[in-house]
Subunit: 583 residues, 2 copies
Amino acid sequence: MHEMHFLQDLATVMLVAGVTSVLFQRLGQPVVLGYIIAGVLVGPHALPALLIHDESTIKTLSTLGMILLLFALGLEFSLRKLRKVGMVALVVASCEIILMLWIGYEVGRRFQWTTMDSLFLGAMMSISSTAIITSALDELGLKRERFAQLVFGVLIVEDILAVVLLALLTGIAKTGGLQPLPALAVLGKLGLFIAGSLIGGLLLVPKVVDYVAQGGRDEVLLVAVLGLLFGFCLLVSRMGYSVALGAFMMGALVAEARSLPRVERVIMPLRDMFSAMFFVAIGMLINPRQLWHYAVPVLVITLAVVVGKVVTCALGSYLAGTDGRTSVRIGAGLAQIGEFSFIIASLGLSLHVTSDFLYPVAVAVSALTTLLTPYLIRASDPVATAMTRCLPDWLRGVLVAYTRWIGNLSLRGQSALVMAMIRRLVWHIVINTALVAALFLVTAFAYRHGFFHVAMLSQHPGARRSVAWSVAAVLSLPMLVAVYRKAMALGMLLAELAVPVAVGGEYNLHIRNALARLIPLGVMCVLALLVTALASTILPPRQVVWVLLLAGGVLTWLLWHVLVKVHARFQAALLDVLSRGDS
Amino acid sequence: MHEMHFLQDLATVMLVAGVTSVLFQRLGQPVVLGYIIAGVLVGPHALPALLIHDESTIKTLSTLGMILLLFALGLEFSLRKLRKVGMVALVVASCEIILMLWIGYEVGRRFQWTTMDSLFLGAMMSISSTAIITSALDELGLKRERFAQLVFGVLIVEDILAVVLLALLTGIAKTGGLQPLPALAVLGKLGLFIAGSLIGGLLLVPKVVDYVAQGGRDEVLLVAVLGLLFGFCLLVSRMGYSVALGAFMMGALVAEARSLPRVERVIMPLRDMFSAMFFVAIGMLINPRQLWHYAVPVLVITLAVVVGKVVTCALGSYLAGTDGRTSVRIGAGLAQIGEFSFIIASLGLSLHVTSDFLYPVAVAVSALTTLLTPYLIRASDPVATAMTRCLPDWLRGVLVAYTRWIGNLSLRGQSALVMAMIRRLVWHIVINTALVAALFLVTAFAYRHGFFHVAMLSQHPGARRSVAWSVAAVLSLPMLVAVYRKAMALGMLLAELAVPVAVGGEYNLHIRNALARLIPLGVMCVLALLVTALASTILPPRQVVWVLLLAGGVLTWLLWHVLVKVHARFQAALLDVLSRGDS
């Protein structure tokens, strides 16, 4: 009987969604709106004849839709692309998100909503919709233009920041407020987790996917990729982060596989089916009568989103050195909210910190801004012209001067080379430090989940902790050696720069040497503190620590060359995966 | 929490299935076996660590797998292909199914199993596996050979007969035995339903699918096709037939759309994901310990399937006029059981008429025969040679004579032309009669479900019945006129053949005329009886019938030309859909 109900629900959802999506396609509107309308129709508030029997099953399937949606976004994201769009996208996205968070919060407070509601409203308003922009630019035939490339860059950065935002909001909702230190700890742990699994994943996932793809059967490839995806989502959610993060990261990892086109071909239909479910489930939460009651906030928020996003994104682009016309076009392209806003809204609901009305309001605002998007993009050129004409002369002068100044900012010649070297060394140190910290974190996580409670060790918690700690330490030895070597190099480079040959006479060499030693020492101290703080649950008793450290030192001394070689090979493999598409 | 469990189950299933399917692919074995093994591993009987939390969700998804599996089979099936392979496939499939049903039943009885268990065992043994044969022939590179084409023809016919078998088994299980008359009624109704929805569907479904496909978005096409599929499955299951039938028929209907390749591209990944679930769910039902207990039956049944299928299929092919060597190859290709056997086994379980052990036994036999299939196909040539050598001379003579006789059987010249004309007329009469009957059946079904209980009519059941009956009658007028005209033509043709010019002298014309009138009269009487019997629930009061008949007669007389035109257009549209691919 349960299966019959399920079939009936599925048939209802798919039939109604089919009709509305065909209709919206014919009307030239985004299909996503059709799905949401279908959800309103089959939901508990509209037509009783179409009522769904088992909402929970539809919602479970919609979770799958969210996972596949973000996985597909991750597939289109790539670390290489991100490096290309670089700073401009980062500036625009940060500017947009921070300002929109603030605007959204203020709007919420004006309506006398609670702090949490206002905060979530700000978060919802801060992230634009990749799905809607992509389809709008596609339909307008503007996908290849320069501004569109910048918009996609901003969207990529936004997707990452949105995931961070999700983690932050979860933290705030659970602790009740934003304490700077715990928030930093949350962010730090999250960053370490992301860095660790990205690097570990880059070494493993593309290889596994390509190995499976070699077999030549789409069926097996699909099942294996889904296994990786769901498995990783499960792990991520067990660690207390959102499945959205896991899905996006797994997508970014699979995107580095050679067989990406085949993966995309088999995944897209699944994404289409389940994301239809996702949007239908969103529609099902809307009560049209309640929406009518909130008509004023919906209109105000819509206005705030459109005006706010156009202004903040255009401002960000301009500050990052883009010309005025392109900046306005970028702003117009990003002026709507979509799937991430729904994810944030549902997060608020599931954490029981936001009010019921917030979700339908977000959906209504998304629908209105989505409808406006194509018109805004078309209108951006006249708007830019009008804005330029309205500016007072002195402001126009300042703007032109700013554009010229930022254009001259980049370094040239030898100092640029030295800066590039320093930047590379710092990057190496940061990444390897992050990896070490991530290793200790993962070991601590495994320890908490009883991974080291094997029979032989179960007698003595101290012994268990020592083993766990030793495992993490041994595994991180190649990274530790790398950090030390890069820190040495950095120290020497900085010493040479800081103490010119003229200074200090015969002591010159000694001063340089001292400086060159100080930097690796400092780096290692920071690393030690970090590890001690992060892995406090698996810190062995003090006397054991000293023994272990001594043993580790001897081991490092003996195996120095092996460790250097291991790390070099590891780094080469990583660079190979990342540079594959460039060649 | 429910969603987390669901995600965990999905992750477990997909991870284990991913590993086993990659493994089986590397070993060169069918991936399906990998899925089944994965099911055993995550099922309740093997590894407690991998236990699935919510079996019912996995089973619900496996129902989707079954629907999509049969839909994909239907997509590959096409009415045109069926016309080409024609009689040979029908003879082989009928021969195989009837004999294997009997062999299976006898085997079951020898093991002292109940009548129902034995009957279902026979049914399971009677249908070969399209999925396994297709992949085996693909891997052996034999897909283009003539015997492979015949094998595919047999599989198509088998798929149809299997669906009929499912309906019959349901009937038997519900009534407790096979009474000839109710069974015939079930079969007749089923045939009418299939004919009616195939013809109605051919006029509608390809057009709808092509219309949606014109929009150009795969997403919308996918959702619309799924809507049609699930909706039709729901209707079919509401009418008391299996969803498998609905899925297969909808596949056959969509297969006539011009945009079939696109539909196949978007549907296949979904089928792959959910059919993996389907086979995993099958594996979950297996208890290895129980299977060990039933090792002897499994081996005996495996032997019976292999030997029985090779012999019965080869016999059927030979009787249908294929040469000996090809016949043995066809037999070897068809010697295994697969997905349909699982569907039949699960039908028995869900109707509570078969024992628990039957399902795992079927799965084990399927696994063994699947493993044997490639070897059997490779061995078929030597086997055929050996068999020819072993035959006594007289039998070989008989066989050669039979082949020659059946080769000479087909008609030639004018009589062949006349036979073709008669066959066409009979077909037209049968199809139109079936359509009329189907129309009345559907109206009666709608009546029973309160479709005619509108306020105005609700006072008087007689009035309601009259309205329903009139609707059906008016809708079937074009078909009735067509039946009458074709019957007239048939009558004249037969009269001319039966009464040569030499007979009867001057009365010759009168005799011919009388004969020519008798046949349409007889056909109309049969039709009237059929309608009365089938639509007894909506038969109006007697005096109303006469009035309605009179009104119908006058209407027919007035609109004769219109009705002929309507039917001609209808027929032209149908032929257009069917002949599309030929041009």
